[in-house]
């Protein structure tokens, strides 16, 4: 029995999955009702990461807006709205996964990982604030900040997103460390499980991490039009982000808590579905 897994994802190992009771009335929701036939059309999804390569065949020109934040050594925040590309490949990978579930959603590339490490927490927060202010429906955060100094700032932003109906989907860190805002109650937090079916996800009745989605040996779009086979919680979050885009496209105006309720109702370990 392999109990050694990235932080937070052990609870989604096949032998560890806890069945959650079905709540009649609240959860007579089926996957077909929730997202059947939806392609994510009309939903704005921001990917806060290393940028998205819009020329990658997997992205197919779906990037509808760009913004890059970078804090210089003097503490000035530089903002650039001209089209950019992906510095690492990671943002493109997340966008690819989102499009597998919601191919017609509109992607917004929020680049916060620049050439320097200094100020990355503030650039990240600025990117998140921008996404909330722009009325993004879904924001994928496959990164977080471990800096305790940023706890309050991210808490405030997570609450603001929640009240403005922006669903923040976050990846839990792969190590058992605090990472903000990945485990706040206002966000939808995700860790990885071994499955390969993009629609296979689980609800965790023992949070902080609430959902498990594929993130182990997933083949994703990468730099230069290529692909990579990668493992990490950061690839599980975009699976849920894509699914949320589909749900919101079919049922406009849902709040983050309604979305969570639908996700719980349609998770593989809840109710009668296996």
């Amino acid at each position: 029995m392999n109990q050694n897994r990235p932080a937070w994802s052990w609870q989604f190992a096949p032998e560890s999955i806890v069945r959650a009771p079905h709540v009649r009335g609240l959860e007579d929701i089926t996957a077909d009702w929730a997202w059947g036939g939806s392609t994510g059309a009309g939903i704005k999804v921001a990917v806060i990461d290393s940028g998205i390569d819009n020329d990658h065949p997997a992205i197919a020109g779906r990037v509808k807006g760009y913004i890059a934040f970078h804090e210089d050594r003097d503490g000035n925040m530089n903002v650039d709205e001209s089209p950019h590309t992906d510095a690492f490949g990671h943002g493109t990978a997340c966008a690819d996964i989102i499009r597998r579930l919601a191919p017609d959603c509109d992607l917004y590339s929020v680049k916060v990982l620049g050439p320097m490490l200094t100020g990355k927490g503030t650039a990240f927060a600025a990117g998140l604030r921008w996404a909330i202010e722009q009325g993004m429906h879904v924001v994928n955060l496959s990164l977080g900040s471990t800096k305790r100094d940023y706890y309050g700032m991210f808490h405030e932003l997570a609450d603001e997103a929640y009240f403005k109906n922006t669903v923040l989907v976050t990846a839990a860190n792969n190590m058992p460390v605090a990472s903000y805002p990945s485990l706040f109650a206002a966000v939808t937090s995700v860790a990885c499980h071994e499955g390969q079916d993009p629609l296979e996800f689980y609800y965790n009745p023992l949070p902080p991490v609430e959902f498990g989605a594929p993130g182990i040996n997933v083949t994703v779009a990468w730099l230069g039009g290529g692909q990579m086979t990668v493992t990490g919680n950061s690839f599980s979050a975009p699976h849920i982000a894509g699914l949320v885009a589909r749900i919101l496209s079919k049922h406009p105006g849902l709040t983050p808590f309604q979305v969570k309720t639908i996700l719980r109702a349609t998770a593989r370990n809840v109710g009668g579905e296996t």
């Binding site: 897994r5 460390v177 990468w222 990579m228 950061s234």
Partner: protein, 270 residues
């Protein structure tokens, strides 16, 4: 009946969790011991000892996860770059000390995000593959890269290549290396602080006035609330004062310190 099944499932889950925690704590204890020994060697504070600690960390990680090659990078905050400190492979020596901008490569991404990543085929990204191939002298296939987290701060990246048997590094490997990386980061930090402190003591004995004050301030900024630092900084200040009293006073202070160190070494053995 359903309740009994639920209860049984919950008990099974708890037992599984307990087993996991036992495994993890045994592994953590073993790694702690190994790194404590390495850190103790670092206390000798000759630069090569610090380097030996870094080498030992990479070797131990390679051994634990049965990897063919490995690298360790530390962040140079001022330069905004990763410094390649250890590269264990056939043609690695030339790379030591090379700087990699934080905005590129797998190690750069891990350092910038604090997230670990496992890659099943490094060759799928020619840019990464080229960097790494240069480091280890052959074309690697699989990779696992892990941030070295010290509290809430990333201080570097530990990277392993090619798990024995050709299979990709898996989720379990990521968890194991995560525990190891936490211990390694603490050992590296302790070794760095001790190395800086011993330099400080040596400078204070040499009476290097202004430079000493600047270095003390710089060191204080990096170690902040460390009680070890405060105690040793006080020692350094005292040695500085004594050495300003003349060569004889400096020699006497050294003799006393050496005698005390011998005593402490003997005490440690019992």
């Amino acid at each position: 009946m359903a309740d009994a099944q639920d209860a049984a499932a919950q008990i099974a889950a708890l037992e599984a969790e307990n087993a996991r925690l036992r495994d993890e704590s045994a592994l953590a204890a073993e790694l702690r011991l190994r790194l404590a020994e390495a850190a103790a060697a670092g206390l000798l504070s000759v630069p090569t000892e610090h380097k030996a600690l870094l080498d030992q960390i990479v070797q131990a990680a390679m051994h634990v996860l049965r990897a063919r090659a490995g690298s360790l990078y530390l962040i140079d905050d001022e330069a905004g770059a990763l410094v390649w400190e250890v590269a264990l492979g056939e043609r690695a020596a030339a790379l030591i000390g090379q700087r990699i901008p934080l905005g590129q490569g797998v190690a750069g991404w891990v350092a910038a995000t604090g997230q670990a990543i496992a890659v099943a085929d490094v060759q799928q990204d020619p840019r990464w593959a080229q960097d790494v191939a240069r480091a280890v002298g052959y074309a690697p296939k699989t990779m696992l890269a892990m941030p070295l987290l010290l509290g809430d701060r990333v201080i570097g990246v530990l990277q392993l290549l090619d798990k024995d048997g050709g299979r990709p590094f898996d989720a379990g490997d990521m968890a194991t290396l995560g525990l190891f990386a936490n211990q390694a980061a603490v050992a590296i930090d302790q070794s760095r602080v001790m190395r800086s402190l011993s330099r400080l003591v040596r400078m204070s004995l040499a009476g290097a006035g202004d430079d000493l004050a600047a270095r003390t301030a710089a060191l204080a900024a990096t170690t902040e609330d460390s009680p070890e630092f405060r105690a040793t900084a006080r020692l350094a200040t005292l040695f500085g004062e004594i050495s300003r009293g003349g060569d004889a006073a400096g020699t006497l202070a050294l003799d006393i310190a050496e005698a005390l160190a011998r005593y402490v070494r003997v005490q440690r053995r019992y």
